[in-house]
């Protein structure tokens, strides 16, 4: 995907991160969120790779939370969606909506 456009999975990850909020969005919870809402079997490896790419594009920023005993004393890498990330999500939604216009009849099942 180019720097300015979002792939479908990138969009899902961004949406999940926005839903969860900065305090709760990290790889494991993002996987759970996407799986719960879409019913898809998401692999965490894909989420790591996507988060790295989104961060490089400047759409998200990450920081380490506090160490947690149930994680073997390791911290979570919490995700914050940046202003540009929210903008990209809005842009994707508009693009989808524009592409959707007038297709209702053609997508009806026969």
């Amino acid at each position: 995907m180019g720097k300015d456009t979002l792939g479908e999975f990138e969009l899902l990850v961004l949406l999940a991160a926005i839903r969860l909020g900065e305090a709760e969005a990290y790889a494991v919870s993002i996987v759970d969120e996407i799986a719960a809402r879409t019913g898809r079997d998401i692999h965490r490896a894909a989420v790591y790779v996507t988060l790295q790419r989104l961060e490089k594009k400047g759409l998200i920023a990450t920081r380490l939370g506090a160490p947690q005993p149930e994680r073997g004393g390791k911290a979570r890498r919490l995700v914050r969606v940046e202003r540009s990330g929210r903008e990209a999500v809005r842009e994707a939604r508009h693009a989808f909506q524009r592409m959707w216009v007038g297709l209702g009849a053609q997508l009806e099942e026969r």
């Binding site: 490896a45 790591y48 947690q68 149930e70 073997g72 979570r76």
Partner: protein, 869 residues
């Protein structure tokens, strides 16, 4: 509950440095959530997940131009490597399986070493526990100290916060219901308990007054023992158990996890009077200490060494030294064993890596045009070397994953063995894992870097000119050809040995000697910790008493004692046979023998064939020495002549035993099973007093049902008599069976693997020759050469290698037969067909290895071949 170590390692290696911790945290969290539902499933899923995560993260790093293994590699190289692996499945499988075997061996070897050298007691403060041995010099026997000496050590050893005593033993315990069990027991000074993780689940811990003279006898038991022996008793506290003839009240129950100083089920108090010099320690107890905070083992050693000069000397010319060691230190023996293990592991790994390198070298020569093209397009030699190295690294990574999992499985099996010390945990810890990673990298270096450097050594551009390829053939031939020959030779020898062992195993399992099925056998021994208070000697038991008691039990039709049961194959020792009157000369032989009582032959239905068996009179102190030989002795040693009246004596050491007159002949009672050449042997009367013997009882009904009555009756004779390993006569020496089984399977596997690797070398070489001589073959065929001549030209070298290696292997196999008698006397020579079978196997496999390249060579069309260059 934590994520598997291997999974953590994979993720740790693949994740970028700044993301490592949180990615590991995610892995841990996801694993714990899964484990809460199903632990075995969680293990599998987390392992699989870690592989996917590691692959994805590595791929991403390569995409970013930040490769994990060097800046001169790209994602393109990785893709090419993966494609080659898929396109050459035989080579990939051979290399991966070989390296995986090496890495599995390395995992086991390094975990073994780590356990031997770096184990600690598995509880907080466990590294402060030290054992203190009192050693008499120069004999190095365990010395007994006086009460004053113990008082002195307690007062002066300031490097120790606490000085206690421990003992370990096996004792007869009469459990409620009347059954007698032989249990692992421990003695412990009650004041030591606060330093140990002993938290009773019921009742209380032992207290110092429990060990005071005249105190009522008490015992702590394990929860595990209660569940097994007293499942119907709701509250065991206050109940009594008879331990080694003494009735003790249960005062506390310890959890299953508590193990110290051994894996005991019962703990009894050791009196603490030795601390202030009022009393000596019981004979079976030894000292241990807890290091004072901030004091090292070395400081304690030095202090105890100084104290040694101040304690009593037992006899002129001798002295007693106090020696401190970590509780889990196994001494110099452990270092020797660990060194041997590491050397063996590295040798196996390097041989395997060299083999894989051989394969890669062959493939690299075959790809020289590709390399030349890349060089012409601007790739540096370093880049091409890196490409080959990366391909092998990929093979190594897959092999490492398989090898570590296989090694881990082997270690789990090993950990289930009962005989291991409680603190021994044979799993790959951080040191072992690090060593495995290093060993894998070294193996990969050998298997990848060496062929890569060799294959790219000459001017790569020459590859584009076509060349005649002969120079490369020769370069490949010398080192690799020698290696192939040596490997074929070794694999033939190994396979031959393995087949003999497998035959030995079969012979061992087949009942060659008919023995009765209604005989109970058991080992009867005097508790090793029991010593005579006055003399310090081990307490013995009268054989006559044991035999009388066994014979008198209900349902017992005959009973006898021996030092070696049928199928136990006592070790042959040198014996002398004197000359027959006017006949055969004297001779020296190596024969197995056993001591037996008069009732033994009857107990195992050994009918006397000639002369007589032993009589009670033969056991009198002044009776003339006699012996009874078996039927194989008469056949093999005397050629069928009567042995009666001949004399025989043991000739071990400087003083030979007394001459014994042969008075009878009994059938073959399984003196040696599996090796007919060792079946000839003889019997002598059992010594009247002993500490270790076997009882054989011919009974009515199920033999094992007579175990408890035997234990009870012997308990009445002496509470310290331990009845161990009760089993039917037909099950005797079952451990040997397992050894033979696994030994033969492992050896056959190793032999086949070596042969497979050697033949893979033949295949690689043949492929290379065909690839590089396509043009020549085409010209030959065009000029009218017959197929036979072409075959001879192509196959000649492979045939030479297989032939030379095979012949050398046969020679080695025959030579090793000579050493066999010393190493494993029970094995036969495998019969005349074993070696031919190996040779036929070698020829068939050799033919298969040459067939594919050969078919390719014969399929060359002259026109195509000429156009190709």
């Amino acid at each position: 509950m934590s994520a598997p170590r291997l999974a953590r390692l994979l993720v740790r290696l693949a994740a970028p440095g700044d993301r490592r911790d949180d990615t590991l945290g995610d892995l841990e969290e996801a694993h714990r959530r899964r484990a809460a539902r199903s632990r075995p499933r969680a293990w599998m899923l987390t392992m699989a997940e870690s592989v996917v995560i590691a692959a994805a993260l590595l791929r991403e790093r390569l995409r970013d131009g930040r490769p994990a293994s060097g800046r001169w590699l790209t994602a393109g190289d990785l893709r090419l490597g993966l494609r080659l692996m898929v396109r050459q499945p035989i080579l990939t499988a051979t290399a991966v399986v070989s390296l995986a075997v090496g890495i599995a061996v390395a995992t086991v070897g390094f975990a073994f070493t780590e356990t031997l050298l770096f184990s600690r007691l598995p509880f907080e403060g466990g590294d402060r526990v030290v054992t203190i041995r009192t050693v008499e010099q120069p004999s190095r026997d365990a010395a007994r100290l006086s009460a004053e000496d113990y008082g002195l050590i307690t007062r002066q050893a300031t490097t120790l916060e606490h000085l206690g005593a421990i003992s370990g033993s096996r004792e007869n315990v009469v459990v409620p219901g009347g059954a007698v069990e032989t249990l692992i027991t421990a003695g412990l000074t009650p004041t030591s308990l606060p330093y140990l993780p002993a938290r009773p689940v019921a009742g209380r811990l032992l207290v110092p007054s429990d060990g005071a003279p005249g105190a009522p006898p008490v015992v702590m038991v394990s929860a595990r023992f209660l569940r097994r022996a007293m499942p119907d008793v709701p509250d065991a506290i206050g109940r009594t158990l008879e331990v080694a003839g003494l009735r003790r009240t249960i005062v506390g129950v310890l959890p299953d996890e508590f193990e110290f100083p051994n894996s005991a089920d019962l703990w009894t108090p050791i009196p603490e009077g030795f601390r202030d010099g009022r009393a000596s320690l019981p004979g079976d107890a030894s000292l241990f200490g807890i290091l004072a905070p901030g004091r090292s083992l070395g400081a304690a050693r030095d202090q105890l060494e100084q104290l040694s000069d101040r304690i009593g000397h037992p006899a002129p010319g001798s002295s007693v030294r106090l020696e401190a060691a970590g509780f889990t230190d196994l001494g110099p023996m452990a270092i020797d064993m660990a060194t041997a293990a590491i050397v063996a592991v590295l040798a196996v790994l390097l041989v395997i890596a060299a083999n894989v390198g051989n394969l890669i070298l062959a493939r690299s020569f075959a790809r020289q045009r590709e390399f030349a093209l890349r060089a012409a397009l601007g790739a540096s030699r370093r880049r091409i070397v890196g490409q080959i190295f990366l391909e092998v690294l990929l093979l190594g990574l897959i092999a490492a994953a398989i090898g570590i999992v296989a090694g881990d499985a082997a270690l789990r099996t090993f950990n289930r063995m009962d005989e291991l010390p409680f603190w021994a945990d044979f799993t790959a810890g951080p040191r072992a894992t690090a060593m495995v990673v290093v060993a894998t990298l070294v193996a990969t270096m050998v298997a990848g870097a060496w062929p890569a450097l060799r294959a790219t050594r000459r001017d790569l551009a020459a590859g584009l000119h076509g060349g005649d390829g002969r120079a490369s053939d020769v370069r490949f031939g010398r080192a690799a050809g020698t290696m192939v020959v040596v490997q074929i030779a070794l694999s033939v020898m190994l396979l031959h040995g393995a087949l003999i062992l497998a035959q030995g195993f079969r012979a061992f399992t087949e009942p060659t000697v008919p023995l009765p099925r209604d005989v109970l056998t058991a080992n009867v021994n005097v508790n090793a910790t029991r010593v005579d208070a006055a003399s310090g000697d081990r307490v013995t038991v009268r054989a006559e008493d044991v035999e009388r008691i066994a014979r008198g039990l209900p349902g017992v039709r005959a009973a006898g004692l021996t030092t070696a049961l049928p199928r136990q194959s006592p070790r042959p020792v040198p014996v002398e046979l004197d000359a027959a009157e006017g006949g055969a000369p004297a001779s020296r032989l190596r024969l197995p023998s056993a001591e037996v009582t008069a009732g033994f032959f009857d107990a195992v239905e050994g009918r006397v064939l000639a002369g007589r068996g032993f009589r009670p009179g033969d056991y009198a102190p002044d009776a003339p020495p006699v012996a009874v030989v078996n039927a194989p002795f008469v056949e093999r040693v005397l050629g069928g002549a009567s042995p009666l009246g001949r004399r025989i004596r043991a000739a071990t050491g400087d003083t030979p035993g007394p001459w014994r007159t042969i008075v009878g002949v009994v059938p073959d009672l399984g003196m040696s099973v599996g090796d007919p050449t060792q079946a000839a042997g003889y019997y002598v009367p059992l010594a009247p007093e002993t500490t270790f013997l076997y009882v054989a009882m011919r009974v009515t009904g199920d033999p094992l049902e007579h175990t408890n009555p035997l234990r009870r009756a012997l308990l009445d004779l002496d509470p310290g008599l331990i009845v161990a390993r009760p089993e039917r006569l037909e099950d005797v020496a079952g451990d040997d069976l397992v050894f033979f089984k696994w030994g033969s399977v492992t050896l056959v596997g190793l032999g086949l693997l070596t042969l497979g690797l050697a033949l893979a070398g033949v295949y690689a070489m043949m492929s290379l020759i065909v690839a590089r001589r396509t043009r020549e073959i085409g010209i030959r065929l065009a000029l009218g050469a017959t197929t036979t001549r072409v075959v001879r030209a192509i196959v000649g070298r492979a045939a030479w290698q297989v032939g030379t290696g095979g012949a050398a292997g046969c020679l080695l196999a025959l030579l090793s037969l000579g050493m066999r008698a010393n190493l494993a006397s029970r094995l036969g020579d495998g019969g005349p067909w074993t070696l031919p079978v190996v040779v036929v196997l070698l020829l068939v496999a050799g033919l298969a290895a040459t067939w594919i390249p050969l078919r390719r060579a014969l399929g060359v069309r002259p026109g195509d071949a000429l156009r190709a260059e």
